[in-house]
């Protein structure tokens, strides 16, 4: 069974204090790993897709990286507006009526001014 875990569950940073969020996955064969951002009371917002180990994607202060077992979302010099819950999701290569796409539980990030 495909599994996705994220750590830490919650993270508090001071403005400008860089850090990383982790997404670990156990899947039969990775087809894609996705990062989303979710603000309170809103739907998730798509950030990145990563397809293979070694791949990196960047957007403003965020950089996502991928290895064979996990992905990291690096946040450089965060600002209070980066506060949100960050979700990762994985798609595996075996199509099993929707069971091949799974979201992780998320990391709740708070950036204090």
């Amino acid at each position: 069974e495909d599994q996705v875990t994220q750590s830490p569950e919650a993270l508090r940073l001071q403005e400008g204090e860089s850090s990383s969020l982790n997404c670990s996955y156990t899947v039969s064969g990775l087809r894609g790993l996705f990062w989303y951002r979710q603000d309170p009371g809103k739907g998730p917002e798509f950030l990145f897709t990563l397809y293979s180990a070694g791949e990196e994607k960047e957007k403003e202060r965020l950089k996502a990286t991928l290895t064979k077992k996990e992905s990291f979302l690096h946040i450089t010099a965060p600002k209070p507006e980066d506060s949100a819950t960050y979700l990762c999701a994985v798609q595996s290569t075996f199509d099993n009526y929707g069971q091949n796409f799974v979201f992780g539980p998320g990391t709740r990030l708070s950036v204090l001014p």
């Binding site: 894609g32 809103k42 739907g43 998730p44 798509f46 999701a89 798609q91």
Partner: protein
């Protein structure tokens, strides 16, 4: 922002009542999804659609049915609502299956 709306945005209903949630898109995307989000469980897929009248089950489909008679509309029906179906429901759309999903604003459903 992707053109996705959900209605109603909030609903309170009683146990045993049928409930229908609507998702409407203006992006002409082929794929549409229904998720529920609960504390401790994260986002879980209920049903998805890969075209008009083409739907399939997700991880937590029991007690839910869906219909898609037009590209732009995807309906989620709770045939007989139960308290365990109290949740926030999100609709999403994508041009490719599973990829770069764009989510609606959500519907908060309370079953009393």
């Amino acid at each position: 922002d992707a053109g996705i709306t959900q209605s109603p945005r909030h609903k309170v209903t009683e146990t045993g009542t049928p409930v229908t949630l609507r998702c409407h898109q203006t992006e002409n995307h082929r794929y549409m999804y229904w998720y529920r989000q609960d504390p401790g469980h994260g986002l879980r897929l209920i049903h998805y659609s890969y075209g008009v009248k083409d739907t399939d089950k997700g991880e937590v489909s029991d007690g839910y049915s869906v219909s898609r008679s037009k590209t732009e509309d995807f309906l989620l029906t709770l045939e007989s609502a139960t308290s365990s179906q109290t949740s926030v429901y999100f609709c999403a759309i994508s041009a490719l299956l599973w990829y770069e999903q764009y989510f609606g604003p959500g519907t908060r459903l309370t079953v009393t």
